[in-house]
Symmetry: C2
Subunit: 295 residues, 2 copies
Amino acid sequence: MDLHRLRYFVAVAEARSVGKAAERLRMAQPPLSVQIRKLEAEVGAPLFHRGTRGMDLTEAGQALLVRAGEALALAADGIEAARAVAAGRRGRISVGYMFVLANAVLPRLIPELRRSIPGVDLDFVDLSASTREARLLDRGVTVALCMPAIHHPEIQVARIGAQRFMLAMPNRSPLARIGAVPMARLQGRPLVALPPPERDPASSAVAALLRRHQIVMPIASRVETAHSAMSLVLAGEGFAILPACAKLGAPRGIVFRPLRDAADSIDIAVCWRRDSQSPLIPKFLKCAEKVVARL
Amino acid sequence: MDLHRLRYFVAVAEARSVGKAAERLRMAQPPLSVQIRKLEAEVGAPLFHRGTRGMDLTEAGQALLVRAGEALALAADGIEAARAVAAGRRGRISVGYMFVLANAVLPRLIPELRRSIPGVDLDFVDLSASTREARLLDRGVTVALCMPAIHHPEIQVARIGAQRFMLAMPNRSPLARIGAVPMARLQGRPLVALPPPERDPASSAVAALLRRHQIVMPIASRVETAHSAMSLVLAGEGFAILPACAKLGAPRGIVFRPLRDAADSIDIAVCWRRDSQSPLIPKFLKCAEKVVARL
DNA sequence: GTCAACCCATACGTCTTCGGTATGCCTATG
DNA sequence: CATAGGCATACCGAAGACGTATGGGTTGAC
């Protein structure tokens, strides 16, 4: 059956007259009459009582009218919903983020998103350095807030900010009494490290920093996340070199100190699949930029 | 928008390929491809990602798919519902009945209807002699169980049975000791009468019966229904001449006796609007005949 | 009682649109 | 580099929809 016919049927049922309905539909009366009869032929039963004063629904017609009206509304709603999703007025965006950024960014980012893209369902997924690439590629997340950026031919990157590396240590450590720690003071001290560069690019930035200053820090432990690193630091296992924003998630007893002669930083970036053309991505990017700019 | 296109869209979305969907729809691939592009033009946004391995819904497409599927199902359901109503497999029938018949007929009629036309909603409305005609004509009820039949050019009648007139009296009445009361014994006794013939045809049957036997019964009271009549009879106001079936609704203390030399009866009939072509009417009629035959 | 008005149904010509066939383009694969 | 698989484009024939003209039946007024 044809939605066109159903629309005509509804119009005639509402107007209780072929002529009136034709007028409302801006068409001639005869073709409308024909369409109604075709619909009746398809159903196999009369849908209207033909009186001398117009048309009146039969019970079969009433049964059809209810559903036809709903079907029309649903179809129209479907088209409109598709347009809304395409325009980014509705939809769903799944946001991946690395846990180090959570405390610094999410509390400001979430309200910003709700204000900027109301009607869009938000999903937040925390990513580890090793899974974030896969989650983007398999569309587990639409965008990812990364530190540092992902490099992959399928993935588009927008750098939205950077974080200075800082030294994290227990507040009882002697170095904690210095305002900014000279790099030389790190020589030979134990390091609580993140996964090796092939699994976490942050590590290679740290390694490059140390290499450039000819510092060797023996690796006391390797952990998966900045938070685990801070736990071990608090336990006295060693020092950690972490982006400044990690401070916001640090447990009591940890202090962060800048490195005096190292301006090294690690990028904060928004990453997404190059072929993902969701109109929500530019909007998300704008929000993220705004929030990160105020860090 | 056209339901045809939505159907094609759903097929392609499910097959995740234009070619496969075309095969399933038993049509060639190119026209299907064209229809999908037309739908996309109508929406104003792509609904599929074209990959080298087939088609994949965009988010806008997913939003449309859900509603399109429901719209299709609703439209199909609407057609089917109209067919079912036309065939009498579903629908609603509003049954009017006169209260005298209620106790005798309804307890058997209702289960019979539920068995015979399951899926049909039943509505029961009690009618008085004066309103039954109007209720049929204004479609307040689809059919009416009447006693006696209605005579009206717009109303079709099927006689399904008859009820002998009987004499109703208090059990303490001297006539109650007789098995069958001779008509002559009614001479001069007070009558509890129903509304006059112009409002209730049953009265004219009673009047005819009395006239034929040259009996005069002064009218003690006029009441609207057989039940009211029985109340007054119990109170000693007089006698009532009622159809046998009224006995089933009689209060304790009322007895019914046949009239020895009068075989007069009053018809039980099913009545409906001549232009009402509900397929449920013949089915209802069959049930009513079956039930009344066993009275 | 007849005539006009109203409303739906039918007939026919025109035009839109749909579906089929043939073919091209792109990409992945061996 | 050649082949295969998949979607897009071009063109043609056929079906269906719309418009105009007209018929038939009923209501209501003069």
